[in-house]
């Protein structure tokens, strides 16, 4: 046993944790979730909700698991009579001023007050209906945040987030006793670029997202692990879909990247995933016009075109497509004299002050690093110029494109922009929510995202389309799954050496740091 570890028993399960670990965290290792409201691993300990009271042998009083450090030989009981009674009473106290408006509350179904009340609350209140409940009107806190004070249980997570993490202390606890509520600075708005996190942190339906207001019930949502496409930070997110429509983006904890948070830009950056103006069938030029066809014909004709291609080729790619697609596009052109480039939309950087190396990055693209590692260049203008005289121009989902070329234009994308209507062929692909794949963030971390909804019509994931083209054009290996595509990439490109799709897991892995980005 290392010197800095302590052994303790929680509900009969022996665990060993590093010295200084809080009992509430040690309990997680024992498979025990101690009910709590104010505690959050990303914030300082407040110890105010008193929900995590547990019995610790040889201690005269119940102790809060969130503020008690695990000690050698400690015996913790979360299910003893006194501990259960204490939690039941906290729930009863919390509910006396809480409206039972769950049927119209956005939080219902993912509400910790609801969950723990079902788990161990009293079946009925003893609070007489003669007594008034605290009432305060709904307040508009900021661009996306509403405060419903009646539902507030004063856990102070939002106050602590703004103070410690955002370092813009605009919220406080105002008033005292049961009149208390969350106050906002008289002259301030909750408009910090990361303010939306208070909605996720709120354990009840007190802080609500205006964007999500009454959009869905929690139990109607399907949740998919994904990576935010808002910038090059690569925050881990969950895409919430209702009937195959993305309705919400929430942070997915990853201590190495975004801890528990995402910025508002990323949070709001999902509507395009539900666009209706998609290309839904392969389009081929016939008699001077783009006409819909099926995949067999499209692949056959584009394959023939590629097989016969010679001379200069140019690839204009989006830094928002998967690493696998970028890799396979490169493989497709590898026999030709080719060059590839991408352009990145720039915005303002917005750091989250309390967390090192976490910011909304100026580069608003999730996979610029991936594109760069695969040999695509940032000199987009040069590539556009080269395209004019190229024999073949491949555009991979770059919407800001106005290509003039003497050669053949092959457009592979989710939508068909005006500037690409001169294409020989348009192959419809899935967007990021409709496929799985990987992005490489700015720090060289390769992270997987999963498929949240089906692509529309005949659209297929870009890796599939490119792999099929590799097969019909007879240019080397053509992977059958995204995992195969990634593993082929890892075997081919030195920077990705040693990685495998399976080993990436859902938390991602760092690149082979020995290999530098090609000049």
């Amino acid at each position: 046993m290392p010197d800095d570890a302590v052994q303790l028993t929680i509900d009969g399960v022996a665990v060993s944790v590093p010295k200084g670990t809080l009992v509430i965290e040690a309990a997680k290792q024992a498979g025990v979730l101690v009910p709590h409201y104010c505690y959050h691993p990303g914030l300082s300990v407040a110890g105010v909700c008193r929900m995590c009271l547990v019995e610790i042998e040889k201690q005269p009083k119940l102790a809060i698991a969130c503020a008690t450090q695990a000690a050698e030989g400690m015996v913790v009981k979360t299910q003893s009579e006194p501990a259960k009674r204490a939690r039941t009473s906290v729930l009863e106290f919390l509910l006396i001023n809480h409206p039972l408006d769950c049927p119209i509350c956005d939080q219902a179904g993912e509400c910790e007050l609801q969950d723990f009340t079902f788990q161990e609350g009293r079946p009925a209140t003893r609070y007489s209906p003669d007594y008034a409940k605290r009432f305060n009107p709904v307040e508009d806190f900021g661009p996306d945040v509403l405060y419903v004070p009646n539902r507030c249980i004063l856990c102070t997570r939002c106050v602590r987030f703004m103070e410690e993490v955002a370092k813009e202390p605009v919220l406080n606890v105002s008033e005292r006793g049961d009149r208390a509520y969350i106050g906002i600075h008289a002259e301030a708005r909750l408009d910090h670029p990361w303010a939306g996190n208070v909605v996720d942190l709120c354990p009840v339906g007190s802080l609500l997202s205006k964007d999500f207001l009454h959009k869905a019930r929690a139990w109607e949502l399907d949740k998919t692990a994904a990576v935010c496409t808002g910038c090059s930070q690569g925050c881990n997110v969950t895409l919430d879909t209702r009937e195959n429509v993305v309705v919400r983006v929430r942070p997915r904890p990853n201590l190495a990247v975004n801890r528990y948070f995402i910025c508002d830009h990323g949070r709001m950056n999902y509507r395009w995933m539900n666009r209706g103006d998609r290309v839904e069938a392969p389009l081929m030029r016939r008699d001077g016009e783009l006409r819909a066809t099926d995949w067999d014909e499209a692949l056959d004709r584009v394959g023939t075109l590629l097989r016969g291609a010679s001379g200069r080729a140019v690839a204009l790619v989006s830094p928002r497509v998967s690493t696998e697609a970028l890799f396979l596009a490169r493989e497709l052109l590898s026999g030709l004299d080719w060059m590839g480039a991408f352009q990145v939309v720039m915005g303002e950087e917005a750091p989250l002050a309390g967390i090192p190396n976490l910011a909304l990055r100026a580069e608003r693209a999730p996979n610029a690093m991936g594109a760069e590692l695969l040999g695509y260049r940032r000199d987009y203008a040069a590539a556009l110029a080269a395209a004019e005289s190229a024999a073949l121009v491949l555009v991979l989902d770059e919407p800001e494109v106005a290509v003039r070329t003497a050669g053949a234009l092959l457009y592979i994308g989710t939508v068909l922009p005006e500037g690409a209507r001169g294409a020989e062929a348009v192959l419809p692909i899935a967007n990021v929510a409709e496929e799985e794949g990987t992005f490489v963030n700015r720090d060289g971390r390769v992270q997987r995202y999963l498929q949240a909804k089906p692509p529309p019509g005949m659209a297929r994931p870009a890796w599939w389309v490119l792999s099929e083209l590799l097969a019909t054009a007879q240019r080397g290996d053509h992977p059958a799954t995204p995992a195969d595509a990634f593993d082929l990439l890892a075997a081919t490109v030195p920077a990705f050496a040693g990685l495998s799709y399976a080993s990436l897991g859902l938390g991602g892995q760092g690149l082979n740091r020995e290999v530098r980005v090609p000049a």
Binding site: V90, D130, R179
Partner: protein
């Protein structure tokens, strides 16, 4: 006591000797009365030696908890690696308590002297005297005295600051007081860490009550044995204690008696007993936060830390609230609960919601609309509010409710049975 009455022969005036003497407020007047001698002596002593003397004297905290003062001082780091601070709790806001106010009003230099000695003993160079916001007169007197003492240069390297509170009861809780000094909301902090490790501004801090510190110069001058010898009873309770008596007695006020003095004698002899024609019903011996004693317990009670505990209450701050037979106990307990509901800092769930709920139940009972289940509910809520929160405010609300129902259940039942005319709770 000395003010407004002459001391009673049964009093032992040590701290209150100069109450009522206006001249004692000035630096000169205080020096004439032997003031600052103990400080001069202390500044020549090793800090640890002073702590030893105070330990030896058996002095215990006069703010309410009764923690041994010398022991508390000895918790400060021996080797000074960070700045040390002393906080003086002059936020006397416990209902029924008004002893520190009189100490500051009449003998401000006594407090300053005790503060400087304690600061030296714990190697603090800064001391904050946190004065209750409502104490305008004591604060002005303290300011004047501090100015004079600073001009005379008696404190050496020690700097003393006066800090005025803004009227929150909870700021008398030691860690809330520290937050308040730091400019934060006066919320109690989770302990541990204790102030000796992580106090004001995160530095090692000792916090003492006014009356505690005022006793220190006397102990240094007269010796620990003398102070111990003042006790009439338990060797664990030494010296003299100021009791603020209010309510139904002929002569309310502050009385200084030695530890172990009978509460009965305090009420009937020193305070002149009940108003004529009335008899004693109940007494809260240590400020509003301690359990209520009934008549028999009151008359049996000896005033020291152990004696009051023996009767089922606590010595607390020494704020003695006396109720005669005209008093409606249900109403009194509702008033206490309402006070705590108003002053709860809103951090802990049990306290924030429990104090308010308790008050509502009592108010409805007084209005004649109580339910038979209300008494058991009150007791259950009180149990849920005891020993489960950061500080003891919620325990303090529960104490009078539980002891009140236990000892005066018939009065509650009279309301519930409709035998007592409803009163307006407002």
């Amino acid at each position: 006591m000395g003010y407004p009455h002459k001391p009673h022969p049964q009093e032992t005036v040590v701290l209150s000797k100069h109450f009522g003497e206006v001249e004692a407020r000035s630096y000169k007047g205080w020096v004439k009365r032997g003031g600052y001698e103990a400080l001069k002596q202390a500044l020549t002593m090793e800090p640890a030696k002073i702590t030893d003397v105070v330990k030896e004297s058996g002095l215990r905290g006069r703010g309410g908890a009764g923690f041994p003062t010398g022991l508390k001082w000895s918790f400060m780091p021996k080797e000074k690696k960070k700045p040390h601070y002393l906080c003086v709790n002059a936020d006397e806001s416990e209902p029924g308590t008004f002893k520190d106010r009189e100490i500051m009003r009449w003998t401000p230099h006594a407090l300053l002297e005790g503060t400087a000695i304690a600061a030296h003993a714990i190697q603090a160079e800064v001391a904050y005297v946190y004065i209750r916001g409502e104490f305008t007169e004591p604060c002005a007197i303290m300011e004047q005295a501090l100015g004079e003492a600073n001009a005379a240069g008696v404190f050496g390297k020690i700097k003393i600051y006066l800090h005025r509170g803004a009227g929150a009861y909870i700021c008398g809780e030691e860690t809330a007081l520290m937050n308040s000094i730091e400019g934060k909301r006066g919320n109690p902090r989770i302990k541990p860490p204790f102030p000796a490790a992580f106090g004001v501004f995160g530095m090692p801090t000792t916090i003492n009550n006014v009356e505690t510190l005022v006793a220190v110069p006397h102990i240094l001058r007269n010796g620990a044995a003398w102070y111990k010898g003042l006790s009439l009873s338990s060797p664990k309770s030494t010296g003299t204690k100021l009791f603020s008596v209010c309510g139904h007695v002929q002569r309310p006020g502050n009385y200084e008696v030695t530890m172990g003095f009978p509460l009965k004698d305090l009420l009937y002899e020193l305070c002149g007993g009940m108003p004529s024609g009335r008899t004693l019903k109940a007494c809260i011996p240590g400020g509003s936060s301690v359990p209520i004693l009934n008549r028999e317990e009151t008359e049996r009670c000896l005033l020291d830390y152990e004696g009051v505990v023996e009767q089922g209450s606590m010595l607390g701050s020494g704020g003695v609230i006396v109720f005669d037979d005209s008093v409606d106990m249900v109403y009194q307990i509702m008033r206490l609960a309402r006070f705590y509901a108003h002053e709860s800092c809103a951090q802990c769930t049990q306290c924030r919601e429990g104090t308010a709920w308790t008050t509502r139940i009592l108010e409805r009972m007084l209005a004649g609309q109580g339910k038979p289940a209300d008494l058991d509910l009150l007791l259950d809520l009180s149990e849920n509010m005891t020993g489960k929160t950061i500080c003891v405010l919620s325990d303090s609300c529960a104490a009078p409710v539980v002891s009140g129902i236990k000892k005066f259940r018939n009065e509650f039942e009279a309301y519930l049975a409709g035998k007592k005319h409803p009163v307006l709770a407002a």
